[in-house]
């Protein structure tokens, strides 16, 4: 059974229709990449999955519940980790406290236990030695790795990535993508909005191409990248892949 089911979702900001009719499924353990031109609604779709935006019509079923009908948003969000384009580390706390705060306040863990979990995840992303550093002293790549560790500390069942490498210097993209690839190898269910076509091709189980608030094409990466059916997909990919070279 699908862990995420998006059914006929429609969403607009004022008069601006951002998602006209979106449906897709994500199976447990799958990595799904949302690709498409800027303004196609990918990020908005992802934000709807974490209730940072609410939808106008349709249904989103995650972990067998209609998320727009649940009363306790906070306990839902604790199961769905989110990583942002701008990292959004808490500026008033060091790296360790960034990872410890929600464990203590939301999961009600003891400080010692929370620190242990935090350091394990920081170690996995290679940031253990920076535990007492403040976010302002870190590079973009380091911040993003901490942000991923912070989300993983909550032991989420699903991870959402909103263009995790778009705000990074090119040389730092690799270190962050490697962390995400590791997660994919551990069979974390992930939805990734990305412009990194190489990453989508290598890591995704399913690629969804969106444009103008619609899913125009979805399928296995080989199928989308090597043999796209939709004209708009072909056009987009030829431009993006050309730029990649």
């Amino acid at each position: 059974m699908s862990i995420i089911e998006v059914k006929n979702v429609r969403k607009s900001f004022g008069n601006n229709l951002v998602l006209s009719d979106i449906s897709f499924n994500v199976e447990k353990g799958q990595v799904v990449c949302l690709i498409g031109p800027s303004g196609s609604g990918k990020s908005t779709m992802l934000r709807c999955l974490n209730l940072l935006e609410d939808i106008d019509e349709g249904e989103i079923i995650v972990l067998s519940q209609d998320i727009n009908k649940i009363s306790d948003i906070n306990s839902y969000r604790e199961k769905v980790g989110m990583v942002f384009q701008q990292f959004n580390l808490f500026n008033n706390m060091n790296v360790l406290d960034n990872c410890v705060l929600a464990q203590m306040k939301v999961l009600k863990k003891e400080r010692k236990e929370a620190e242990m979990i935090a350091l394990e995840h920081l170690d996995n992303v290679g940031m253990k030695d920076f535990a007492y550093a403040y976010p302002s002293t870190l590079s973009g790549g380091q911040k993003q790795r901490v942000a991923i560790a912070r989300a993983l500390c909550m032991n989420p069942e699903i991870m959402l990535f909103d263009e995790p490498t778009s705000a990074l210097d090119p040389e730092m993209v690799g270190e962050v993508l490697n962390v995400i690839k590791d997660l994919a190898n551990k069979h974390m269910t992930m939805v990734v909005v990305t412009h990194e076509m190489g990453f989508a091709r290598d890591v995704a189980d399913k690629v969804i191409f969106m444009d103008d608030g619609l899913v125009l094409e979805e399928g296995k990466p080989q199928q989308i990248f090597n043999n796209p059916q939709n004209e708009r997909t072909k056009q987009f990919l030829s431009r993006v892949l050309q730029a990649d070279l």
């Binding site: 604790e78 706390m93 406290d97 929600a102 010692k112 242990m116």
Partner: protein
């Protein structure tokens, strides 16, 4: 005006000036502090945005509270503190209780400062990157937890220069509270000038004392500002070092394997 006469007045009436300084500092400091607390509360409440899913009743309650707070801010920023002081002092004195003047003075300066602080805190909150809020909420923290742990600490840091400014304003503007005859510096100066008939010299001394107090405050505020730019979080700290935790973890893994 002669400087030697100024010095003479300062030394002769030093105890009176000192009493004035003491009262001024007490009123200004407590007024700023209580005002800050009022500001945190009012500014914090005004900055809270309810979830879109919040019930209709909650939305109405929030709107009503917002309206009342807005009126409070407008009234106390829009009328002179001198008028507020006499009005509130006599209103309570004749209708409710024969209250202490000093208490009345601190009450008035606190709610007056609170109105300004509320706006300072609110703008400090608005200057915090919305991404901080989103990240906190995405981890499952409630709106209240996010406000207390993430947003307010950063807002206070953002707003600190403006908060400090309020203290300096209060040291000077508490002089209008002489209207309800508390023994602050301006009230004392009036008495001294009335006794000596040396108006120029007395008020020159007064001005110098105010300048001295505000300058010292500026120095202290600057030092504090530097300090809080390096402060840590309010979370309780453990004494565990990273290394000891890592070693303990490795030990546990070893045993488990």
């Amino acid at each position: 005006m002669s400087l030697s006469k100024c010095f003479e007045i300062l030394t002769k009436y030093f105890p009176s000036f000192l009493l004035g300084i003491r009262t001024t500092l007490i009123v200004a400091l407590t007024g700023t502090l209580i005002g800050l607390l009022i500001g945190l509360l009012v500014g914090g409440i005004r900055a809270i945005k309810l979830d879109k899913t919040a019930s209709k009743t909650n939305k109405i309650i929030k709107a009503v509270i917002d309206g009342i707070l807005k009126i409070y801010i407008e009234v106390f920023r829009g009328t002179p503190m001198m008028v507020q002081a006499v009005f509130i002092y006599y209103l309570v004195y004749t209708n409710i209780v024969r209250w202490d003047k000093m208490f009345a003075a601190i009450f008035v300066i606190s709610i007056n400062t609170g109105a300004y602080m509320a706006e300072i805190i609110r703008s400090g909150i608005q200057a915090v990157d919305p991404g901080q809020n989103e990240a906190a909420r995405s981890l499952g923290l409630s709106a209240m937890q996010t406000m207390m742990n993430i947003v307010l600490p950063q807002a206070i840091r953002n707003a600190f220069p403006a908060i400090g400014n309020e203290l300096i304003v209060n040291i000077k503007d508490s002089s209008v509270l002489m209207i309800i005859s508390i023994t602050e510096l301006m009230f004392q100066s009036n008495s001294i000038a009335g006794t000596t008939y040396r108006f120029t010299e007395t008020y020159f001394v007064t001005a110098m004392i105010y300048l001295f107090m505000t300058s010292i405050s500026s120095v202290i505020l600057n030092a504090v500002e530097k300090k809080i730019n390096h402060t840590r979080t309010s979370l309780p700290q453990s004494d565990t070092s990273i290394e000891s935790i890592v070693i303990a973890k490795k030990g546990a893994d070893h045993v488990n394997n």
